[in-house]
Structure formats: structure tokens, C-alpha cells
Symmetry: C2
Subunit: 159 residues, 2 copies
């Protein structure tokens, strides 16, 4: 996590990658999205997806997990340098989420995040609000997931 004052429009970070195994896909689907094409290989093949496909909510949740892990990594770097620690706030939501292509069992998705806008919160001036385009691409370089996410970011010295 970084402070609002450290951020610039256009900054991009790589969030790492995740391979969606058949077991991962089914485990999420049983809990939250038990549709046939997320639960069974043969049903996946017969569907518009053409194979056992991850729930879109699973893809988004994995992206979230990688963002949190990357924030944790940045926090450790700051801590090791003795720099002040920025603790992030919640997200008010997002716009324009697209599941552009299926994520099939065995696909490895690499996620990234690029800042599209920055502003100070009108109601809580000790916080900034960023909008970032979070996206995931598969091993063939095809974008499979994209979302314009908002998040509260702390200001240095409480603004």
C-alpha cells in the first residue's frame, strides 16, 4: 500500500498470476456458483464456454487476493525501510466489469492494475479515492477479465 501522494495516473503494477485448476474451480463453484459448467468438465464442454470454466466471481476474488498480497508486500518493504506505513481503506465499488473470455481449467491468469484517476474524497479529506483498471490475461495474452475499481487510499499526514 502506498500513500495517495505517492500515486500517479498511469502507474501500473503487476499483481502476479494464478493457475485455475479443475479442483479450484469446482471448490469455489460448490460454495458460491453451482452452475453445471462450473462443476463438471463434460457440462462445460457442452456449454458456450467449451470447457470447465471458473465462475466469474472466482476470477474476481482471485484478483482481489493478489491485490491484497501485493499491498502486503509493499507494506513489508516500507516497514523494512523504516518508512511510514499506509493502511488502505475499503472500496466503494466498481464500474464496467467484463468477463471477456472464459477461464478454463488449467489456464494461468496474470493480473495487473493501472491507475486511471485520483482525487481527494470530498466527505473524508483524510482519504484519497483512486480508480484503477484491474485486468487479467491468460497464457496466450488474451484479456479475460477487466474491471474499473475504486478504492480509498490514505493521505500522508491525514491530508
Amino acid at each position: 500500500m502506498r500513500f495517495f501522494e505517492d500515486l500517479q495516473v498511469g502507474q501500473r503494477r503487476e499483481l502476479g498470476s494464478f493457475t485455475f485448476t479443475a479442483a479450484d474451480i469446482k471448490r469455489f463453484a460448490v460454495q458460491f456458483d453451482p452452475q453445471r459448467f462450473h462443476l463438471d468438465e463434460e457440462e462445460g464442454r457442452k456449454s458456450l464456454f467449451g470447457g470447465l470454466a471458473a465462475s466469474g466471481w472466482h476470477v474476481g476474488s482471485v484478483c482481489m487476493k493478489l491485490i491484497v498480497a501485493d499491498n502486503q508486500r509493499l507494506l513489508e518493504v516500507a516497514r523494512s525501510r523504516g518508512e511510514p506505513i499506509a493502511v488502505g481503506g475499503p472500496s466503494p465499488g466498481f464500474r464496467d466489469l467484463r468477463w471477456l473470455k472464459p477461464v478454463l481449467a488449467g489456464d494461468t491468469i496474470s493480473f495487473s492494475s493501472e491507475i486511471e484517476s485520483l482525487r481527494v474524497s470530498a466527505s473524508r479529506p483524510e482519504w484519497g479515492i483512486l480508480q484503477a483498471r484491474n485486468a487479467g490475461s491468460n497464457q496466450r495474452g488474451e484479456v479475460v477479465f477487466s474491471v474499473l475499481a475504486s478504492a480509498f487510499v490514505p493521505r500522508r499526514n491525514n491530508g
Copy 2:
């Protein structure tokens, strides 16, 4: 699930409710969104949320689960009446997702879905595409979650 031809703009369905226990919130957070305010009551109280709060991805995933369960219920009704079975397709994405208020441990969220638009798919005319406003309200009637979701819906007799 119903066929495209059975649907009308303005149709609303109640999807049921879900109580987010502290254990549920932490179990999802450990897997997908391990931020302090989703993992620990005291950290939640100190945060903007004011209490142990569910991950927004958890709230959306529970909404998805209730949609799938309601589709399954409609399918059983159709089957018991000997009516043709409509098998739904995937979702290409959604717009305008908002986490309007925190979902705190113990909150019971009731979800609903209301159709906002209907059109035939240009590229796959055997499918329709609906846009529905899916929303969740807490036990005080406050809307906490709202998203405009798209989904493929089968046409009767393949259009």
C-alpha cells in the same frame, strides 16, 4: 430459469436472504480477501466499516449463489409441470457495482433481481441477453449492494 420469451422488463423476483456470521466472513476473507477489517472484530471496529465487515466479493458471491438456487427452484417447478426446461447461459459481465453500506457480522441481507432490459443477441440469435438490477438490503431496509448484471437467456425453440 425461464425462456427469453417469458421475461418482461420490470419483472422482479425475490432471491431469499443470507445471514453473514463472523465465521462466514472470516472464512471467505482468509481465502480471497485477507484484509484486517474482514478478519478481525477489533480491526473492523477501528476501520471505516465500524465492525467486522464482509468482503464485497463475498457479498456478490452470496448473491450469485442465491440466483443459482432460485433458477434451480424454477427449473424444478417447470420439470414437475412437464414444461420445457430452460438452461441458462453465462454472464458477459456487469456494470455499476456498488457496495453502498458495510455488511457487518450478524447482518441479514435480502436479495432481489429486477429486469431492466431485454434484447436478442446479435451474434448468437438463439440466445437473449437480459440486464437485471440485483440488489441486497439489510434487516433495516438499507440497500447495501447493487449491481446491473447481464446474462444470456435461452430463447424458446432456439429463437
